[in-house]
Amino acid sequence: MVYGVFRFINFAHGELIAWGAYLALFFTRSPFYLPIYFAALPALLITALIGLAQDRFVFEPLRHGNRITLLIASIGLSYFLRNAIRLIWGSDLQTYGFMPTRGIDLAGLSITSAQITMMVAAILFLGILYIILAHTMLGKSLRAVADNMTLAQIMGITIKKVSLAVWVLASFFSAVGGVLLAVDTNLEPMMGLTNLLKAFAAVLLGGAGNVWGALLGGLIIGVAENLSVAFISPGYKDFISFALIILMLLFRPKGIFGILGGVR
């Protein structure tokens, strides 16, 4: 999303996913002992603040600078945030401590209740994102800035406000993603980077700037990854999305649905 508007890849974005998940973990433990639904709220807020801080202290001063400078700063930032997680929570695998529940059989597939919650929440948040982007004034100005920053400025759109909104929204949604992911799997400091790369694979599959394409891309990658375990060694599970990124970049840089134009 940040990529769509500001045209640069933020390597530190993945860390926001990890921070969201870890902060939720923090609020479920002592001294808070909040249930996960409530713990997620302050976690999301703090992650949004981190996102804003990123913009304010690192990217804002560099916005008109050299691209290479921006990229190196973002990879440095990502490394900084990841190590901060390791410092606070350690490098070991952690979970929210849910009991593994028995899955409900659904046409031969086993689905746990947590996974159903995840799916519902994911669809809900995607819906919200879509409404914001397509039907509000904010969404309109966002898309205008993405199209042509100078022209948007001439039309009286304050870049500062828009960039604020972008960062809040983007960090908020990545934190949601992080919490949902961590509910189903587990938490580790590297989760930010791996999931960022996977998200990239999803976005590239669907075509950049296309919400539904990204959703479908995500689905394809998730299914491909889990099916691949049946055919090749589980160690290569992550391999799939990385290989997909390279393949997609080579053959269809506009994504599968790139030609259709999509929402944007």
Partner: protein, 290 residues
Amino acid sequence: MDYLLHIFIVSLIYAIFAMSLNLELGFTGLYNFGHVAFFGIGAYTSALLSLAGHPVTLGMVCSMIVSGGMGALLAIPALRLTGDYFGIATLSFGEITRLFFLNERWLTKGPMGLPGIPRPTWIGEGVAGLPWFLIFCMLLTLVVFILTRHLTRSPFGRALKVVREDEYVAQALGKNALSFKIRAVTVGSILAGLAGSLWAHYISYISPADFTLTETILVLLCVVLGGRGTNWGPILGAFVIIFFQEIIRFLPIPADFDRFVAPIQGMVYGAVLIILMLKRPEGLLQEYKE
């Protein structure tokens, strides 16, 4: 004294590694975030060959050939992508390579790594061989330095800089930008392979854990801190970074605080990268511009 020799050797290996990245990042303006892959490929090629009983020199030559070949193979498709996408593709390539080392147990022994990699016979094993290894590394660093300096000052190097500044101008001047970039990446990979094989023969034990994103960040830091696009910069950067890393070991750190040291070190590296970009993006040494 032996410890000092060790630091110098590691610094020199990193200097070669950093110079190879500098050729791509500094002179050609390609953000290669998977450069550690070629370091790893070089290390594994050389280690496997010499463990199979072939002479070390052959292993080192082969590691350069294999890394260079892989570099060209990656570069030809990946360089059709522009800018940021190249960064993503190389980052993925670095991860793929690490997963390959981790999973192909028949070849690389997986997470156990490869122990007992021999040094060149004339250098000798153990501590006694250290001064000779240092001289060996110094010679190689000198060769690489002269080579890169010669390359970057030649018309080829000037063309690379033009490609970095503006690809269209390069094309208008009749230079095939793609071919120049591919050649830059290939040479960079060859040199990274050399650094990797030196590393393998010096440390004598390698495992996939040696070739992670941390090493990418470290070498990136060497180049950026020293000064992108300068000949002396990467060497200076490598020495500063490695010495900094080794000095940390002597700080009086309580035993139960040990587990915090590595993350804090990582945070410092990250913070230094950010602050450098904000305050002095050109690094310690500034590129001379006509």
